[in-house]
């Protein structure tokens, strides 16, 4: 169980068996990276991961689309995580999120290094953006062509965050289990008891 200082919610992720391919045509699959909520509790810019997950799920839910969450254990490569999720989704639409926040919306028939939408600058991703990512993925799943989520750019985010991003990636890579495959995740989010 993981709890972050800056939220009163707790995140409980329980790993189940090997994730299967869904058959609901409007289902989106969200793939989490190996250390998301396991070692890491917040993104590179201190957004609590429990809130990230909540917003993505809410974004899909408000479009009336079901979001299934899986843990990709065998890679920390975002394109592989997002593409792996897309291949499991009944709709063929997947989302990948790394612990540091970097995210991608993918479609199963696209080349792995391509994507529908990529959000490369993790430090600039706030809760509003994560909700929009969930919402857009849901719209793609319904066969729509939503306006891409606006991508922000800040040329000074590199000097502040590039080295930390490298460290976070190296740490995430330590949690990769090459034969771990992709497993179902049961997500429960609850409010912490008042102390």
């Amino acid at each position: 169980m993981v709890q972050d200082q800056s939220t009163d919610r707790t995140l409980d992720l329980r790993e189940g068996g090997e994730a299967a391919r869904g058959d609901r045509e409007d289902e989106v699959v969200l793939g989490l990276s190996p250390a998301f909520g396991a070692f890491f509790t917040q993104t590179i810019s201190h957004v609590p991961l429990v809130e990230v997950l909540r917003e993505v799920m809410a974004g899909a839910e408000e479009q009336g689309v079901e979001l299934r969450v899986v843990r990709v254990k065998n890679t920390a490569d975002l394109a592989k995580i997002a593409h792996g999720a897309a291949r499991l989704a009944g709709s063929g639409i997947g989302i990948g999120i790394l612990s540091r926040g970097t995210s991608m919306i993918h479609q199963k028939d696209l080349a792995k290094l391509s994507s529908l939408e990529l959000f490369p600058q993790a430090p600039l991703l706030d809760l509003e953006t994560f909700r929009a990512i969930g919402s857009n993925a849901a719209q793609y799943a319904r066969g729509e062509s939503p306006e891409p989520v606006p991508v922000r750019n800040d040329y000074l985010s590199r000097p502040r965050y590039q080295a930390k991003a490298a460290l976070l990636h190296l740490k995430e890579t330590e949690f990769v289990e090459p034969s771990g495959g992709i497993v179902e995740l049961e997500v429960s989010i609850s409010r912490a008891r008042a102390s």
């Binding site: 040329y155 590199r158 000097p159 502040r160 080295a163 930390k164 991003a165 490298a166 190296l170």
Partner: protein
Amino acid sequence: MTEADPQPGTRRSARTEILENRPVQLDGFVEEWPEVGMIAMESPYDPDPSIRVEDGRIVEMDGRERADFDFIDQFIADYAIDVGSAEEAMALDAAEIAHRIVDPGVARADVLALTRGLTPAKLLRVVESMNVVEIMMAMQKMRARRTPANQAHSTSARDNPVQVVADAAEAALRGFAELETTLGVVRYAPLVAIALQIGAQTGRGGVITQCALEEATELALGMRGITAYAETISVYGTEAVFTDGDDTPWSKSFLASAYASRGIKMRFTSGTGAEVQMGDADGKSMLYLEIRCIQVAKGAGVQGLQNGSISCIAVPGSVPSGIRAVAAENLVASMLDLECASGNDQSFSHSPMRRTARTMPQLLPGTDFVVSGYSGVPNYDNMFAGSNWDPEDYDDWNTIQRDLKVDGGLRHVAEKDILATRERAIRALQAVFAHLDLPEITDEEVEAGTYAHGSEELPRRDVREDLKAAQAVMDRGITGLDLVAALEKGGFRDIAENLLSVLRQRVSGDLLQTSAILDHQLQVLSAVNDANDYAGPGTGYRPSGERWEEMKKLRHVISAENPEKEVE
């Protein structure tokens, strides 16, 4: 804004408060982690140098048998190292080799005779024995071209060709020898590359241009003569990162030969930090891996390399001795007789002091291109994600050149001349677009573009029409010669002649020589006819004559003749 805030209720000193608010605190610094390669140089996990040659073939290199070589080892052993001189050169102590490199009394050619026989681990030991002043001393002698130069970025956040043509013209007028662009929306490339070329030839005939794109389109624009060189051909220091981009040293060499076959100048790009950033550094230091990249460039037979960390600069910049490592990687490129376009081209620090200090190891000794490139547009318009230098720093740059009498390639230009050149460049593009039946450039855009600082001040273009026209440029097979004809018909004969002279280089092939640029007379200046002859005090390149007079000019200099006035 710091991550380690004090405990609530803890009193802080007033001085700490001030220090906490300094821009340098916004930069990221991390602890070394050598086991995964998060270390700039001097790692305990880098291999020890060794070599064994049998029957004219390297059978062991840096402690690894040929049977265990990865493809980078193999490529370096077979193509980058001169087997004939390897055993003798490798037998010398690394510090002794470093002495010869730094010593002005040892000729550059004699150093090259040694360095061509060194393995990656040995080259690493050589530069590890140098401090940063010795690295600069060595760079002063080992740089390939005698005359240093500079390169600019000319891009637009809106991919607006009007902005690019005006800023390219200004950058060329200010002294840059090469200009490069890239895109936000890739489909805009043909129009922006045309604008860059015409701007360059308006500002100063002979400035050469490139457009950074995925490799096939970049090559296609070069073959059509819309651009004149290429630089964004990346190589990496571990097999895992190389293959992640579906590439090998052989595929990159094949691409290099495609450029050479058409007389197009090109260089590779690499830099410290890329491998660890990708999480595949194989437990080796950033500098060791970069030296492998430099030798891959050498083995591929390309004339030069852009290095100096480049887009990963905040990674070496975050660890101890990282900026020394970056200076060392530039030096190794020059030690292997490659043209070195030495970085300083990406946003690096929030601190103006760190930004400046980071550039000194290239600016003071001079490199083939001190900055590669200097943003010729405000950083918010820089589609290479921001540079270490931008137009707001022009007068600082000119002043530093004048203070230290070092040639960073730029000059102060009076505002009236800049305005006239910007306007003429946009007018020329307006005529070319009209002649080629591309979307109109209005007089309102000419006016706005002449006076603008950045894309925010320009009228919005009809992007959909522009993108259709960009596709049409490719479909209709428009080439550099069509641009020459359009310029001539539009009444811009001198610009047409400049562009034709640049295109002629494709036939003569002289731009393929190491470190080639075109001078003011559109003559090639390269390591062949302008070889670096530094041999100690009083020798080598020193600003003098007209160039030094030009460097003395600044925006505001009080007149000695009449101290109530400023020098014009």
